[in-house]
């Protein structure tokens, strides 16, 4: 067998495989943003900081109870849901697109003001984390970090990444089912489109948005624990993940969970392949070049209609 051809095949297979695994993880990071942005037309600049906050919550929980990191989800997810619900009700509902339209202002004004509010929120969360946890890098220790499953002579996949990929598929399916198969999911889509008519359906739009934001942050809770388990993090790491989430949403198109998965997969695969062929420094650059390219030729996202 031709040796060169074999290694070429292994490189590509590896890139596709670990890129896909990375892509699932990216998709989870982006779900919350895709929900807020795509369904509710709310651009949440604090999304990355909420992810990091969730990772710190998991660390705090683990310092009190010595259990497997996966158990932290039982605490982190509900806490993040409540935070999302409350923040939406007391703050974001006052500045949303829908609130602006209700006051007779243009929708573009309604897109601007949440940008400012969530940008401020991002700063507050970062500083708050710094005050409580100091600036040392933290990580969620777990036994799986260095485990790998051998698929062939020269082909392996990280156990942790594989588990994350499974969780990603499960979460995307759950959110998709929630949006399309439940009363509350339909209400979220309806109330974002036309709050006045939603009221005629008996929906209290502000409560509906609060549930949507709660779910958005609950998914950010899962993503935050994943981040903490796969790398070290610091209080101001939020924007890094916000960029990843934006990348996924831009590539996949707005508001669809299938889009989030596809966007995550593309970004993950391109990054890993670029890393393989052009060295580690090319990873991030390749991802952002791709995003810029897509923004230039198909600003509505690759897969939105």
């Amino acid at each position: 067998m031709n040796e060169d051809l074999y290694w070429m095949f292994i490189d590509v297979a590896n890139g596709l495989l670990s890129g896909s695994m990375l892509g699932g993880y990216y998709a989870v990071i982006a779900i919350g943003l895709a929900l807020n942005f795509g369904v509710m037309r709310l651009v949440n600049l604090a999304h990355g900081d909420w992810l990091i906050l969730a990772a710190y919550l998991a660390v705090a929980f683990l310092s009190m109870a010595n259990v497997s990191p996966f158990w932290t989800l039982l605490l982190v997810v509900p806490v993040m849901y409540v935070i999302g619900y409350v923040i939406q009700r007391v703050m974001l509902n006052r500045v949303s697109v829908q609130a602006a339209e209700r006051r007779g202002m243009s929708a573009s004004f309604g897109l601007m003001s949440p940008l400012l509010v969530t940008f401020g929120m991002s700063i507050v969360i970062g500083q708050g984390l710094l005050a409580v946890f100091d600036s040392n890098a933290m990580a969620i220790r777990n036994e799986l970090s260095f485990d790998a499953i051998r698929l062939g002579e020269d082909l392996t996949v990280s156990t942790l990444r594989l588990i994350f990929f499974g969780i990603a598929l499960l979460m995307l399916a759950l959110v998709q089912f929630f949006l399309h198969g439940t009363h509350m999911g339909r209400a979220i889509r309806a109330a974002s489109d036309d709050p006045e008519i939603a009221a005629l359906m008996g929906m209290n739009a502000n409560k509906v948005y609060a549930v949507a934001s709660g779910i958005s942050l609950a998914t950010a809770g899962v993503a935050g624990v994943m981040i903490g388990m796969s790398r070290s993090f610091q209080p101001f790491d939020g924007p890094t993940f916000l960029l990843i989430a934006f990348g996924v949403v831009i590539l996949g198109g707005l508001g669809s969970m299938v889009g989030a998965l596809v966007g995550g997969l593309i970004l993950g695969i391109v990054q890993v392949l670029a890393g393989t062929y052009f060295g580690p420094s090319a990873q991030l650059v390749a991802g952002y070049i791709l995003i810029l390219f897509v923004l230039a030729v198909r600003p509505q996202g690759l897969f939105s209609r």
Partner: protein, 249 residues
């Protein structure tokens, strides 16, 4: 039903005015709607017909600029202090002008959205089947996204969506606007069927002859006030025309 219950109207409107900011759009409206009525409201553009219907379902109380004054009572219960959600829960709903469907959602999702209230959810499947019985075309197209449908089909979805809340009173804003005459005939047949099932109907209609044909009561609005009201048999076309244009003849 006791004789007294017949005397109390289903919906009683008294001294109702509605404002957009400083601008008064309807002026001191008094109107009783009895159970089993088909009331047609006719009037020129800007006469305040839509504003009246929006005031009844609380949509003039939502924004910061618009508000209402006066009383609206439904079965003796005040609606004017309630939010739209509670008014719909009480059994009054509106089919809005221009349909206002959720454009990116399928026919079935649009219909199911109408059964959001907790008390409606357990029976939603049964009512969905009833609506598909009334509009068989919608059953075939249940998976279709509504923005791809014709105006008449969209109006069917809008009516079906309102029916999902099992209302006792439906307000139709501009029921036939922009629809082909054959489609309008069909829609009116459906309205009669809905009415026959015991739903009281209020219809805003531009076509005076159609309004007179379908309604058991007609009221004409002009410049924010009701200027003429009565049974079609009592009213001459001339009297209605005069009221419509506000001309003294």
């Amino acid at each position: 039903m006791t004789p007294m219950a017949d005397a109390v109207p289903l919906l009683r409107i008294a001294g109702l005015s509605a404002y957009y900011g400083e601008l008064r759009a309807i002026y001191d409206i008094a109107l009783d709607i009895r159970e089993g009525d088909i009331l047609a409201i006719i009037g020129a553009n800007g006469a305040g017909k839509s504003t009246l219907l929006k005031s009844i379902v609380g949509l003039m109380n939502r924004g910061e600029a618009a508000h209402i004054r006066g009383r609206v009572e439904f079965r003796g219960r005040r609606l004017d202090t309630l939010e739209t959600e509670a008014i719909v829960d009480a059994g009054v709903t509106l089919v809005p002008e221009g349909r206002r469907l959720f454009p990116r959602m399928t026919v079935e999702d649009n219909l199911r959205a109408g059964a959001f209230l907790p008390r409606l959810r357990p029976t939603a499947d049964r009512r969905l089947a009833e609506i598909f019985g009334l509009f068989p075309k919608l059953r075939e197209r249940r998976r279709q996204v509504v923005s791809e449908m014709s105006g008449g089909e969209q109006q069917m979805v809008a009516i079906g969506r309102a029916l999902m809340s099992s209302p006792s009173l439906i307000l139709f804003d501009e029921l036939s606007l922009g629809l082909a005459p054959a489609v309008v005939d069909d829609i009116y047949r459906k309205v009669r069927e809905i009415h026959a099932k015991g739903v009281t109907c209020v219809i805003i209609e531009q076509d005076m002859r159609r309004a007179l044909a379908v309604a058991n009561r007609v009221c004409v609005m002009l410049e924010g006030a009701i200027v003429l009201e009565g049974a079609p048999a009592e009213l001459t076309e001339d009297a209605i025309t005069a009221a419509y244009f506000g001309s003294e003849r």
